[in-house]
């Protein structure tokens, strides 16, 4: 009977094309708005590294002076050089890396390719294993290069192609800011985690361009590669020593530390370690605000950085409100449609249809409306995604359709339509079998 009811549903839709169009478009628009905003929200708030996100941690310590000028209870998001290096040096956890953004100029030394600025980060060798960065060629630099600050670099696939064409990139030289660096590995272009959770604030934001250059931390410090990101200084005495050296010695924060622990349970021990470090430093007169530290796993870090834009959340709420109104509208239209068909239902009942049969027939008809509404909704979703993507380059990246969303759009449309159809179908079920049908 399912196939028969399906055919009946389609037939009924064709009978009154205006009413059908009204129902289908209404449902489609509501579904489209909701799916588009939900997709963006989901992409923004998803876990970028689910199998590990509870084992990767970023500490924050409160370096600010204890005056009322900054009442925010949260410590700064970044660390000062002194603290980053000290915490890293304590060798806690399975792997660690300090991290800061750099943008060294690359001089390819070719007349056809003038110098340009790259987008990069200075990291320890552990970085690549910690964040499961895939290589297409070679790998990270050696532990020796990592400690001594060797002149080595890892580049991204697209940069390697731009610089070397089809030639073998491993072992080639790249001139970063007057010095030559040897390429030890090439990172796959496919590595494109959104949001860029590991360098949230070092760069231009959570969803913008991927870095193409990875420089050993020790090397970047030795070469005094300027930070490409934000620096916050809390003491006016911070500028006494000039230049990069002054920056290292100051209380300005411009670095991040990531630690990989063996298991999520080890976080408590690391917290104790942080507290102990701060207590020790307080004896030297630092950390005047006391024991104010944080230790975030990946999701906590994203939260602290407020990756999910308020506006996106608001837009999602509004879109679902819209869907609700569309649903109510669809209920009304379906109810009107089924009511107009009371006569036919009465005849069918008289001829032996049970209430269940009437229920099945009309619910399936609602499902057909949902299916067609889903198709309309799919097309409209693309429109909404385009609208959302115009808000920023970040959102343009996120506002994309994938297979999950494709299926979800249809699913939402059908479920919504079935829900909307419950009341009208229940009403249809109540129609008494009748010989006299014109008694309206």
């Amino acid at each position: 009977m399912f196939g028969h009811y399906l055919a009946l549903g389609v037939r009924h839709l064709r009978r009154n094309p205006v009413l059908t169009a009204l129902m289908v478009v209404t449902l489609g628009v509501g579904v489209a708005a909701s799916m588009a905003t939900l997709t963006v929200l989901r992409a923004m708030s998803g876990d970028p590294i689910p199998h590990k996100s509870d084992r990767l941690f970023a500490p924050r310590v409160d370096i600010r002076p204890d005056d009322a000028s900054d009442p925010d209870p949260e410590p700064p998001l970044q660390l000062a050089y002194r603290d980053a290096v000290a915490l890293h040096g304590a060798r806690r956890g399975v792997r660690q890396t300090v991290l800061y953004g750099v943008a060294p100029a690359i001089d390819p030394g070719r007349p056809d390719l003038p110098p340009f600025f790259s987008n990069g980060i200075a990291v320890h060798a552990d970085f690549f294993a910690m964040f499961d960065v895939p290589f297409v060629k070679g790998g990270a630099w050696s532990a020796d290069d990592d400690t001594r600050g060797g002149r080595v670099v890892v580049v991204r696939q697209s940069l390697a192609t731009r610089l070397f064409g089809s030639a073998e990139p491993i072992g080639q030289s790249v001139k970063l800011r007057d010095r030559d660096y040897v390429v030890t590995g090439v990172v796959a272009d496919a590595w494109d985690p959104l949001p860029r959770f590991y360098r949230q604030i070092g760069g231009q934001g959570a969803f913008t361009g991927m870095e193409d250059v990875y420089v050993p931390f020790a090397t970047a410090i030795a070469a005094e590669l300027d930070q490409n990101g934000s620096t916050s200084c809390y003491n006016s005495g911070d500028n006494d020593v000039p230049g990069f050296e002054g920056l290292k010695q100051s209380q300005c924060v411009w670095l991040q530390l990531w630690v990989e622990l063996a298991s999520a349970g080890d976080a408590a021990a690391y917290r104790d370690f942080l507290a102990g470090y701060m207590a020790e430093q307080r004896k030297l007169g630092r950390f005047p605000r006391g024991d104010n530290y944080r230790l975030h796993d990946v999701m906590g870090w994203l939260d602290a950085n407020q990756v999910v834009a308020e506006d996106s959340r608001l837009q999602t709420y509004v879109a679902f409100g819209f869907l609700l109104v569309c649903l109510v509208n669809t209920i009304g239209l379906m109810l009107a449609k089924f009511t107009a068909r009371r006569g036919e239902i009465g005849v069918r009942r008289a001829l032996g249809a049970r209430r269940l049969a009437v229920f099945q027939q009309h619910l399936i008809e609602a499902g057909v409306i949902g299916l067609v509404g889903g198709a309309v909704g799919l097309v409209l979703t693309l429109g909404f995604l385009w609208l959302i993507g115009r808000q920023s380059t970040q959102l343009a990246v996120l506002a994309r359709m994938d297979w999950v969303m494709f299926a979800a759009t249809f699913a939402l449309a059908i479920v919504a339509s079935l829900l909307a159809g419950l009341l009208p179908t229940w009403r249809a079920m109540q129609v008494q079998p009748a010989l006299q049908l014109k008694s309206q």
Partner: protein, 407 residues
């Protein structure tokens, strides 16, 4: 208006009426809040930054390595820029308003009280920022060459003895003073606070972050020429000349040296567009939803009313046969519609306030001003009437002969 029979007729077809009521209520609630958000977003995007948007552009170069002669570089660059025909003013500058990249420093009126420090955006240049940005001085004067300090990036503190404040910042620092020119304020607070004399106040100047709150208007200017590996200039022209001058300036400066790369070359209009892209597009998205809501609700009223009219054809025919005029039938359906939409509106007002309350606590939204509800109510009434006009007209057109037909 014969309310009673209309009411009792409606109560018999409760569900259809209830659904319209629900739609009207939900739509009113969502539309009021959405319009509020749209207005707020568009208002943020319309704020003047203080800069002459149509006439100013940015030009930035970064040294590939260390620049050996930054002072000479800057001098030469400025000479070349000022020589281009059409250039009204040019200045080396550290950042641009609402460009999302810049410096923030704290100022205090009373350096002994650290909590009185106010963070503000800072602009510094060896030339006139007021001229290069096209700012408007409302008190005092611009800097003179004697005020200018020089600073190399890798040594020393950023400070000067004179400062120009934005009006908003001046009022916050020295609220009790009628005039602030000549007064002293400090960079920072405590023992290291550096005193500065206010020489001028500009009408409007926004910080580089250009955030939505009024704090974005906290900004000040220091007469400091800053030498680093970066050469960044603000150039102002007449709006008609800007495109040409932009191209010429880039060509001229690029030709001067080979040891640097062009990293930024955009007009103030572009900077503004980038900064407010989210507000504008977000507002557009919400506008699309608002329009959609109104259309859907109107469509629903049209649909349900049409069905009611066709269901009651015989009844209408009987009424006409008994002496009702067309206008009576029209009035009947309009009254019925008004009753339904009014119920929906009453519910909708409560829903709008409730929704607003929810949004205030879960998303950054302010309280809904009553003006939106006051405007929304007649709008929904109008929507209802317009939507029901078609079906009501058709109802009025039902001929009295229908009464006697057996169906």
């Amino acid at each position: 208006m014969h309310l009673h029979p209309i009411l009792s007729a409606l109560l018999r077809s409760k569900t259809g009426a209830a659904l319209i009521v629900a739609q009207v209520a939900l739509t009113l609630a969502i539309v009021c809040n959405a319009l509020f958000v749209i207005d707020a977003r568009l208002a943020t995007a319309a704020r003047p930054s203080g800069v002459d948007d149509a006439g100013v552009f940015q030009l930035t170069y970064y040294g590939i390595g260390t620049i050996p002669d930054p002072a000479a570089m800057m001098q030469r660059d400025l000479e070349v820029l000022k020589a281009i025909p059409g250039v009204i003013a040019a200045a080396d500058v550290n950042s641009f308003p609402i460009s999302r990249s810049g410096w923030n420093m704290g100022l205090s009126a009373d350096p002994t009280r650290a909590e009185s420090v106010i963070g503000a955006g800072v602009y510094f240049s060896g030339e006139s920022v007021v001229d290069a940005f096209g700012l408007r001085l409302v008190e005092g004067r611009d800097f003179e060459p004697a005020d200018v300090r020089e600073l190399t990036a890798r040594n020393g503190n950023l400070q000067a003895d004179t400062v120009i404040l934005s009006r908003h910042l001046a009022r916050q620092l020295l609220p009790d003073e009628a005039t602030v020119v000549g007064k002293t304020i400090h960079l920072g607070a405590g023992a290291d606070a550096h005193p500065m004399r206010v020489v001028g106040v500009v009408d409007t100047l926004m910080s580089s972050s250009g955030q939505a709150s009024p704090d974005a208007h906290r900004a000040f200017i220091l007469p400091v020429r800053y030498f680093s590996d970066r050469a960044q200039y603000a150039v102002r022209t007449a709006p008609a000349d800007r495109a040409r001058v932009m191209a010429e300036a880039e060509k001229a400066l690029t030709a001067l040296r080979k040891d640097r790369v062009l990293t930024n070359h955009r007009s103030m209009s572009e900077i503004r567009e980038t900064r407010y892209r989210q507000e504008n597009a977000g507002a557009n998205m919400l506008i699309a939803v608002v329009v959609g809501l109104l259309v859907v609700t109107a469509g629903g009223i049209v649909g349900v009313s049409s069905i009611w009219v066709s269901q009651r054809r015989k009844q209408i025919g009987v009424r006409r046969a008994l002496g009702a005029r067309r206008s009576d039938i029209l009035r009947y359906f309009l009254s019925e519609n008004l009753l339904i939409t009014t119920t929906g509106i009453v519910l909708g007002v409560g829903l709008a306030l409730g929704l607003n309350q929810y949004l205030v606590s879960h998303v950054e939204l302010a309280r809904l001003p009553s003006g939106y509800i006051v405007a929304g109510v007649p709008a929904m009434w109008a929507l209802g009437v317009i939507a029901v006009l078609g079906p009501a007209w058709r109802a009025a057109a039902v001929p009295p002969a229908v009464a006697t037909r057996t169906t």
